[in-house]
């Protein structure tokens, strides 16, 4: 019953120590003709060094996105690969599973698809790869019954990712899992019915190590940080020095601090000039037991990160230097901010223009003004160097700053 093609190129990818996807595909091919022909087409791609899929439009009832449709361009050779769609399904924040739920998902997929499952896509989806058009709805329905929902595709809010964070990481500065879910679930409509200028991605990292690469890959990055002093356990500093030596601490901690604000004193204690600390995490990373983020925790929010198209890669840029994220109101205001940003971009972004590209086009300050945020020196690396600026309203703007400062002081 297994559909077999000669796959001399792919066969070579079965050797070697790393787990082989080819072996898995061959196993599936024994029961799935679709995968048999997909393997054949893949081998053909290897030989001709060209791809043979084309897109199309497929979705489930009520939704516009979430499925990546694939139709083969070489059905004459590989008729059973004619349709090979992917369902993008959002896992729980932090990609936690128990084996029960994983097995149930596998069962559904064996019944209603190819049995090929990618864990996970670069945006964080479970990717159920290989459904015919007539399988898609049923597969979705069963997955949905388990409490999972489709992720994003097309010009929509996209699937989000959050780091393991508070679940296991001592660096975590907020509840990534809660923020992730609260924010995303406030935008299910924008997620399922693509109607935005282009994609919009949230990513949540618990601390500036940014294990989710959010600065470069998220339209809105929420990154944990703190405002007060690094917590130092001086006894543990002593222990660390006993184990590793002073020189190790000097070379790997003191000398590596980007603002040179940490020093090792003669009595083997660490001294940190916290006003100068930029919360880079490095010293904490090295001395996990002795040092920890401060107690007054919260998040920094950056917008506009993305990859290459069309004006070149963009980093996110700070728009909220610090925000507490503890109470319901805190979460609500985070959702509100995200909504304001998406709304403004939805109205002002050009077709296929990411939020960061729009900001680049209209200018950060106009964007901030539009979404109702005041400027702050924490948003810049340094003030302008170009004198080409019109400063008619200098006094007015200066007054805004003074007012905001009087408020926050008062």
């Amino acid at each position: 019953m297994a559909k077999q093609h000669d796959t001399p190129n792919l066969d070579q990818l079965e050797s070697g120590p790393w787990p082989s996807f080819v072996t898995g595909l061959k196993r599936l091919a024994e029961r799935s003709d679709m995968i048999g022909d997909v393997l054949g087409q893949l081998e053909y791609s290897y030989q001709t060094r060209k791809g043979y899929w084309k897109g199309g439009t497929i979705s489930v009832r009520g939704y516009g996105g979430g499925i990546i449709p694939r139709f083969s361009e070489v059905t004459d050779r590989f008729p059973d690969a004619a349709e090979f769609h992917t369902l993008r399904v959002m896992p729980a924040p932090g990609m936690h599973y128990d084996t029960g739920i994983l097995r149930k998902l596998c069962d559904i997929w064996d019944r209603n698809g190819s049995g090929l499952l990618a864990l996970h896509g670069q945006s964080g989806d479970m990717m159920f790869q290989g459904a015919r058009s007539d399988q898609v709805q049923q597969a979705f329905d069963e997955i949905n019954e388990l409490g999972f929902d489709l992720g994003g595709a097309g010009p929509s809010v996209r699937t989000s990712m959050s780091c393991v964070g508070a679940a296991r990481c001592e660096h975590s500065c907020y509840s990534e899992a809660v923020a992730h879910r609260k924010v995303m679930n406030a935008f299910v409509d924008d997620l399922h019915r693509p109607a935005l200028p282009y994609k919009f991605k949230f990513k949540f990292s618990g601390c500036p190590n940014d294990c989710m690469n959010s600065i470069q890959r998220a339209d809105m990055a929420v990154i944990g940080t703190w405002r007060d002093d690094i917590q130092v356990k001086q006894e543990e500093v002593g222990e660390f020095i006993k184990a590793k030596g002073r020189q190790y601490v000097i070379d790997n901690v003191v000398a590596r601090c980007p603002t040179s604000c940490i020093t090792l004193k003669d009595d083997d204690t660490l001294d940190i000039d916290n006003r100068n600390c930029v919360r880079c995490m490095h010293c904490i990373n090295v001395m996990t037991k002795a040092l920890s983020p401060g107690n007054d925790k919260g998040v920094t929010i950056l917008v506009g990160g993305k990859r290459t198209l069309k004006i070149g890669d963009l980093f996110g840029t700070v728009i909220v230097p610090f925000k507490k994220l503890e109470t319901e109101e805190d979460y609500d205001s985070l959702v509100e901010l995200a909504g304001t940003i998406i709304d403004f971009w939805a109205e002002n972004g050009l077709e296929h223009e990411r939020c960061g590209e729009m900001i680049d086009r209209i200018g950060l300050t106009n964007f901030l003004e539009a979404i109702g945020l005041g400027v702050d020196p924490a948003m810049i690396a340094h003030p302008r160097t170009s004198s080409y600026v019109r400063t008619d309203k200098w006094e007015e703007e200066a007054e805004k700053w003074r007012m905001r400062h009087a408020e926050s002081a008062g």
Partner: protein, 358 residues
Amino acid sequence: MSQQQLRQAVESGVPDAFQYMHPLMARNYGQWDWHDRPRPGVLHHVAKSGDQIWTVRAGTQRQMDTDTIRKLCSIADEFAEGHVRFTIRSNIEFMVSAAEKVDPLIGKLNQEGFPVGGTGNSMSMIAHTQGFLHCDIPATDASGVVKSLMDELYDEFVNERMPNRVRISTSCCQINCGGQADIAINVQHTKPPKINHDLVANVCERPSVVARCPVAAIRPALVNGKPSLEVDEKKCICCGACYPPCPPMQINDPEHSKLAIWIGGKNSNARSKPTFQKLVAAGLPNNPPRWPEVAALVKKILRCYQEDAKDWERVGEWVERIGWPEFFKKTDLPFTRFHVENWRGGRNSLNASTHIRF
């Protein structure tokens, strides 16, 4: 269709994480105190409560058949308390509540062919994309490239002997779904798209294709009396951005779609600010099934980094310290006009100082 089939979707969005979390993690949520790494592939976290959890990280092929996933589930059930999680790099993590459980778990994983590693200053799994297997625009494969490289660099996954973590990404077209990375292997097309004029009229929305081109090299045109598109080949930078919205703009080419290597991307804020990766080599052949030229160069760069960088220095930080001239010397890579930025704002990357190493 029956009433039952017309089920309405439950727009449940993202599920709650706590229901699937290892109970020890849920119990100590937000209350972890410190961690260390007893051996490569194993993390040991201690909570303020005194609770401890050991995590064993194993590599997977990401694109898995359900049997492989079930096998991982069985391992989890037998050796790891029935819970797993996945990392951003498609590694699987098993959490156990006692140190004694670590070794048997590792033994089982290895026996079943899952490498344990990817932690700390190792080279973790390569950020994986779609390629020939599923994408509609790839110039090369993803799964095969990743498998080949991970085979070659296996030892760097199971050991922690790099100066700091090494993150590699690949992207199978110039859209670059793979992220910025310490080392990125990206497609670089070298010839303008060949236009299949017969198809343009039917499948492409011409204005939106025109709008996609970053250098405004595309014009609507009448070809053989039919509406089509025209590319100013002198302007075209061969980025392939016109291909996704208009597949008749055939950019992929078995010969002229080459691979390029970029280094020094960094996402974390540790020590230095995040940085974009920089081009170091291009023109590498797209050579399935094992892309030997790419693998050789990646290994060469890694070797230089390993020998020369200080502890905790990421690839980009290392090169910033020794200087780019030295990098090209050490790796014996040619420096060409293509290395000099000519995109917008490019002048920021020129040497506007006399700071030079001789």
